[in-house]
């Protein structure tokens, strides 16, 4: 049998850990992982954050990030052991035999150099081709990856191209030295779904045409299902399940994998009570200072008490701006906001304390939404003191009640945000909002920074709280699966305008407008072959 291109056996990776107040210790971040990858195949590494997937990916070029050491096992690339290889050997292989595509292309490109320089840099550096050959190869790759004007694309600077184009340029950079193996580290995670589809299909086509092998790292099982031949599911640095893509998606053996596969399938039954809306926007138009166009224009929506309105759109669609307008952080230029039967002044300063109390907000990044120098008790206790004058034992008792409601409990009272996990942080933020006894909570992408299973827990908590407290949500998200799981009504936004608005069942069923259709079709489904079907369908329509 031919030896595989990459063969990793019993890999063990350790890192130094500096816990505040403790002596430095060593922790194992990857334990006993074995995998093998044939030429021209794609292996998907999937798992939640901290699963060790990026660390394993980088080990394929015998690289460990700061403080990380590959301490055991065997990494064989092209038939030779590289884990213990000296650095001159590794220098020759990194960037040529094995290349790397990072998650954030915007942060990976040097903004001061033209794209072409950067795409061919490592090819030239390692003497793989002359400048002319390398440039010709790059232009060829630009064309393969579907970039506009491949001949002159390389003359642009990184800020002159879009995020999706930059991600493709980075893929070109990885392909240019004609490597045997490419490591893709979450290459589409930072992109909008409609952009993701294009980048994903370009990557897949390029891999297939050039016959390189790839490690594809992602937390999104639906994405990896489109591109991988084999899939390895990782958790806490250990292999949970390793098999062909078909087996993992269609017949998962382990409970954890089954949970990952089914996570996107939750559906919340819609319900719309009659009666007065708790929040009603009419003709809301707003723009930022020094920006010559309206960021949101002519938005009119209603939210009934105890229901959820999902505001959907891709980045730049104005959905977060809408949240800022509702909260008064960005006063609307025109239009009116009616909340709980009273007309709200556009600016934050002129709103009453009662207005502020009844309209709360939860943020995307829970770790920056809490003061790192305040304990959980202070964070949740402050609104109680501020709005209701609760102090001392009465305040503490209420905080503990709230902690129980968010399923954390009293022992979290004295912890600082840094001592909480991502999901726990978001729960504390929910408790802080609930402490004010609001009528409406604006949730701005509250689950998009979380792992799928953690996000599912947060959504379930929010729905439970809606039932028990009767609070309404304005749920801002770019994720259609989240919308299905929480919404009663949906507002689809595109370029600052409302393109579709109504009950969930109406908005999500045909006939569609063009944008909503593209948006819905671009969301990867958890089945193999979905991407090809969708691309074919979209192409047929265009014709």
């Amino acid at each position: 049998m031919v030896e595989p291109l990459l063969n990793i056996e019993n890999l063990r990776i350790e890192a130094a850990s500096y816990q505040p107040g403790e002596a430095p210790s060593r922790i194992t971040i990857v334990d006993d992982v074995s995998l093998s990858l044939q030429k021209g195949h794609v292996l998907g590494l999937i798992g939640e954050s901290g699963a060790g997937k990026s660390t394993i990916g980088l080990s394929a070029m015998a690289y460990g990030r700061g403080g990380v050491e590959l301490t055991g096992g065997e990494i064989r690339l092209n038939g030779r052991e590289i884990r213990t290889a000296p650095s001159p050997v590794l220098r020759k292989l990194r960037g040529v035999e094995v290349t790397y595509v990072a998650q954030s292309a915007a942060a990976a490109f040097n903004p001061a150099k033209r794209l072409m320089e950067q795409v061919i840099e490592s090819t030239l550096e390692h003497g793989r081709a002359s400048r002319r050959e390398a440039e010709a190869r790059a232009v060829d790759l630009f064309e393969k990856l579907g970039l506009p004007d491949p001949g002159t694309f390389g003359n642009r600077y990184p800020h002159q191209v879009s995020g999706g184009q930059l991600q493709r340029a980075m893929t070109a950079m990885a392909l240019c030295p004609q490597p045997d193996l490419i490591i893709f580290d979450e290459p589409t995670t930072a992109l909008d779904v409609t952009t993701q589809l294009g980048v994903l299909s370009a990557i897949k086509a390029a891999i297939r045409d050039l016959g390189v092998a790839a490690l594809y790292i992602t937390h999104d099982l639906a994405v990896v299902a489109q591109i991988a031949d084999d899939i390895m599911v990782l958790r806490h640095g250990k292999t949970v399940e390793y098999g062909t893509a078909d087996q993992i998606i269609n017949a998962p053996r382990k409970a954890y994998t089954r949970a990952l596969v089914s996570v996107a399938a939750n559906e919340h039954p819609e319900n719309l009570p009659a009666g007065e809306a708790v929040l009603s926007l009419k003709g809301i138009t707003a723009r930022y200072r020094n920006v010559p166009f309206d960021v949101v224009s002519d938005i009119g929506i209603d939210v009934k008490p105890g229901t959820t309105l999902a505001v959907v759109g891709e980045s730049g669609s104005g959905k977060s701006t809408l949240a800022r307008v509702i909260t008064g952080l960005l006063p609307a230029a025109r239009g009116e906001i009616t909340f709980a039967g009273r007309r709200l002044p556009p600016g934050l300063e002129r709103r009453t304390r009662e207005d502020l109390r009844e309209l709360q907000m939860i943020y995307q990044m829970a770790d920056v939404a809490m003061n790192p120098r305040q304990t959980v008790g202070t964070i949740i206790g402050r609104p109680l003191e501020f709005y209701f004058g609760l102090k001392g034992a009465a305040q503490k008792q209420r905080v503990v009640e709230l902690l129980d409601e968010i399923e954390l409990g009293e022992r979290f009272l004295d912890r600082y945000p840094a001592e909480l996990s991502g999901g726990q942080k978001q729960r504390v933020c929910i408790a802080r909002a609930l402490a004010a006894k609001p009528k409406l909570i604006i949730c701005d992408e509250v689950t998009s920074a979380l792992d799928p299973l953690v996000a599912e827990g947060i959504l379930k908590l929010l729905l439970d709280l809606q039932t028990s407290e009767g609070v309404a949500y304005v749920f801002i998200t770019h994720d259609i699966a989240t919308v299905r799981a929480v919404a009663d009504t949906i507002a689809v936004m595109h370029k600052g305008r409302l393109v579709r608005y109504g009950m969930k069942s109406e908005v999500l069923s045909p006939p569609f407008d063009d944008y909503t259709e593209l948006l819905l079709k671009s969301v990867p489904e958890m089945r193999i072959g979905w991407m090809e079907e969708t691309l074919a369908a979209l192409e047929a329509e265009a014709r």
Partner: protein
């Protein structure tokens, strides 16, 4: 983490020794501050450990008393500079708009003039008393503290947790002192060490130029000035206060470095 690294330990020991000597100067000094007890520039002896100065006063005693003055003036000016600079800096960052513009441009104006020249001009038209000296030094230096605290606070003021406090309806006092200040404290405390050293050097320079501490009071800069002519004859009396200034500066620096490392590493900063 509980172990203090060696450089910081040295810094703490030296700084501590100087501060204790300053505090208990009357108990430690063998002679009075301006008591003439011997000949001019006597070499070191059992009676006068470091010898005598240019008019026959005990040099060790003068150094101890001089340290007391130097450290007191520098500490007082640092505290004043920090209080003014950080309160105004945080206020400017949180309020923003024309208040921020006005304060920042005023600070730019002051900073455009070299501090030493500015101080010399002011002190030459005003009576040089201890309070005047402290106020002039403190206010001039507060411009630097203002810049730092404004920059730190401006970064913090756009964080979501500050926005959350604004949405709650919190007043400026809460936002400045409860949300922003605790997070700005670690760079400010480390900066405090640096400012203190600067003050020590500043007051020494002023005294050396004759516009700082006035005789018969003494501070280290003044003692250097009094004894500088001895250098020509190979007499080291002027070097001793200079060494004192240098060692204090280095010691405080080591402590400040350690504080900065410690506080930033809690947040995954410089030391991982």
């Amino acid at each position: 983490m509980t172990r203090i690294p060696l450089p910081a330990l040295i810094g703490l020991a030296v700084t501590g020794a100087y501060f204790l000597a300053a505090l208990f100067a009357p108990l430690l000094a063998p002679y009075g501050l301006s008591e003439v007890v011997g000949d001019v520039w006597e070499p070191s002896s059992a009676e006068h450990l470091l010898g005598t100065d240019n008019i026959g006063r005990d040099l060790l005693s003068r150094l101890i008393y001089g340290g007391r003055t130097t450290i007191f003036v520098a500490s007082a000016a640092t505290i004043l500079s920090f209080f003014t600079g950080s309160v105004l800096g945080l206020f400017a960052a949180v309020v923003g708009g024309w208040v921020d513009q006005l304060l920042s441009r005023f600070v730019d104006l002051i900073m455009a003039i070299p501090t030493l020249i500015f101080a010399l001009v002011v002190l030459s038209v005003m009576p040089v008393t201890l309070p005047v000296l402290i106020v002039v030094m403190g206010l001039l230096d507060s411009t630097r503290v203002f810049r730092l605290s404004r920059a730190v606070a401006a970064d913090l003021a756009v964080m979501d947790f500050v926005e959350a406090a604004r949405l709650r309806g919190e007043g400026r006092g809460w936002i400045i002192f409860r949300e922003i200040l605790p997070n700005a404290l670690s760079p400010l405390v480390a900066e405090m060490g640096m400012r203190f050293i600067f003050m020590v050097l500043f007051v020494s320079t002023l005294s050396f130029l004759g516009l700082g501490i006035q005789p018969p009071e003494a501070d280290w800069g003044g003692i250097v000035k009094e004894n500088k002519d001895g250098i020509v004859y190979g007499i080291s009396a002027a070097l001793l206060p200079a060494v004192a200034i240098a060692t204090l500066a280095i010691a405080v620096n080591l402590v400040a470095d350690w504080i900065l490392d410690r506080t930033t590493s809690l947040k995954g900063g410089r030391n991982g």
